[in-house]
Subunit: 340 residues, 2 copies
């Protein structure tokens, strides 16, 4: 028993396959006699006909599928974004092909190639690197594309990101309000747009509050990870610089600090305050509960998907970028510095 094809439907309905095709497609249905259409639909129903998307793609060179390039699914930041994207896409009749690149450029290239050859109609890319020849090339080829959480140097692409300036501003203002004056920044990788923009926002925020920007107080992490956060903090502590609070590039980096606090017998927040970025899940249950800057993850996904659909419909429209407002979440990892 083979799966029914359009021919089977046509045979039962007593019409030509082309007519059946027209009757089945809502857009072309008006072209066919209402009575005939009904017959066809009934026939299709009776044998449980489902159009074959592969054959359709081959013919139309479209796929109703978009590719979703995620650097690391285990990063809790991404799943909610994926969900937002899927919800919008599914509602519009599209499916998302999720691929994981593990932050590996080669793997990313292979994966994107594979998506392309499957005729995806667009790409939503949450890639890490600022410098990204492949994306430049794809864009030149007219592939509809939206960036999420990241930007690529010299590429005027639609993107959806959290407003890092505002977010870091909120974090610094909060610490300053608590009385901190020597504030360190464990910056994300400066090869990523987010890493750069948060570091810049940090410097600006210090100036806004009339604090000196001591370059020794910013250390770059190699990755957006706990372990790199820990390494960076150790380096900072070993340097002998004094400080009472840390603005971490993201929550993972902030959590890495917890390990170092334990190693060095530092108490958070009494000896050291730390604030993260992203509001990943379960921060409220950490020891201590981590203060952070929350970004609307699901909405980022939603906006990204909308932007992509727009771009697919109107390829020549000028690139718009969307900045979503973050908000401060104060928990117990930030407190006034212990006076002594």
């Amino acid at each position: 028993m083979t799966t029914p094809t359009l021919r089977d439907v046509a045979l039962i309905a007593g019409v030509h396959p082309a007519t059946a095709s027209r009757a089945l497609n809502p857009l072309t249905r008006p072209q066919v006699n209402a009575e005939t259409a009904r017959k066809v639909l009934r026939a299709a129903e009776s044998i449980g006909y489902q159009p074959n998307p592969i054959a359709r793609s081959l013919k139309t060179a479209r796929s109703s599928t978009i590719g979703l390039v995620i650097p690391d699914l285990t990063n809790p930041l991404f799943p909610p974004i994926v969900r937002g994207i899927e919800d919008v896409l599914n509602a519009a009749g599209y499916n998302a092909w999720i691929v994981n690149t593990d932050n590996d450029p080669d793997r990313e290239e292979t994966q994107i190639e594979s998506l392309r050859s499957r005729q995806v109609e667009g790409l939503i890319v949450a890639t890490a690197r600022r410098n990204h020849p492949l994306l430049v090339q794809l864009h030149a080829q007219g592939v509809p594309m939206v960036l999420v959480n990241r930007r690529v140097d010299g590429l005027d692409l639609p993107s959806v990101t959290a407003d890092d300036d505002t977010g870091i501003g909120l974090a610094v203002a909060h610490l300053v309000e608590q009385g901190h004056t020597r504030i360190a920044h464990l910056a994300g990788p400066q090869g990523t747009s987010t890493g750069v923009s948060r570091a810049r926002a940090f410097r600006n925020a210090l100036l806004d509050h009339g604090l000196v920007n001591d370059a020794a107080l910013t250390v770059e992490c190699g990755y957006w990870s706990e372990s790199e956060g820990a390494i960076a903090l150790r380096k900072l502590l070993d340097s002998g610089t004094t400080f009472t609070a840390i603005v971490a590039g993201n929550d993972l980096i902030a959590l890495g600090c917890y390990d170092v606090f334990a190693e060095r017998g530092l108490h958070c927040p009494d000896d050291m305050s730390v604030i993260g970025f992203n509001e990943m899940p379960f921060l409220d249950k950490m020891r201590p509960p981590l203060s952070t800057v929350a970004i609307p993850q699901y909405d980022i996904g939603v906006e990204a998907a909308r932007l992509l659909l727009d771009t697919i419909e109107e390829p020549d429209r000028h690139a718009r970028s969307i900045l979503l407002a973050p908000s401060l979440v104060v928990r117990s990892s930030t407190a006034p510095p212990l006076s002594r």
Copy 2:
């Protein structure tokens, strides 16, 4: 400029498309003159020819793609499993289509239909429900399928799961060793195979240690979630039953308990010990760090993918199931009961 096709390659190489096809496919390459093959490969290289998988799929009714059905990507349990699956699959020349069902049966059905119509060659399903007519039907249709983390009633399918018996046994033994005698179980949904098997394992473990199995000490959670864990624990506390330790169905349920501890002024572990299951990320940074039963998530993915590849190759082979051994991770959420 359109993407090159087989015809273009053939044209350049000065051979017929059929010959080019044979030359490009490693399996049929021996059929063609070595010199000709070289010419074809060079031609393909020169114009960056990539076979169109859609056309190939249409012809061969295969896709080198398998479908991966995940109930909830937000659950930190799944990403590492996905990674294990992808690594094995990619190495074997397959790609994985990940879909998210949100635990919604309708959505799951749509998603699986969509995967099927895209000619996926097999399915790895991490679905929640024990009772699952759709899977039964697919299996009857001969769709290669492997279950991950779950089983389906009355379906003899290959599956990869953690050994719940052993895992729960470890947890209970640990608590008993600490001196607990009244131990509660916040069970996962009894509509899931894991929920049932852990609950059964819990009862058995109590008996093994000569403890009475007081039915009042087991409460079922509606979902595998923090909030449901909290609800269940409140119910248990309100019932007035006394107990000093909790075996939670999984880590999320255990974390839900933390909220209730805070509400009720209970101190963990002094007033109440709790142990989870799964070893999701960041448990070591919780307040208190959560003791749990670790399962080899990545390996579960690896084994599942291998099992699926085996099944695709040898459809008639008898279903094998793999049970992976868990291990105990003791942290600070479990301690001897406070004597008073």
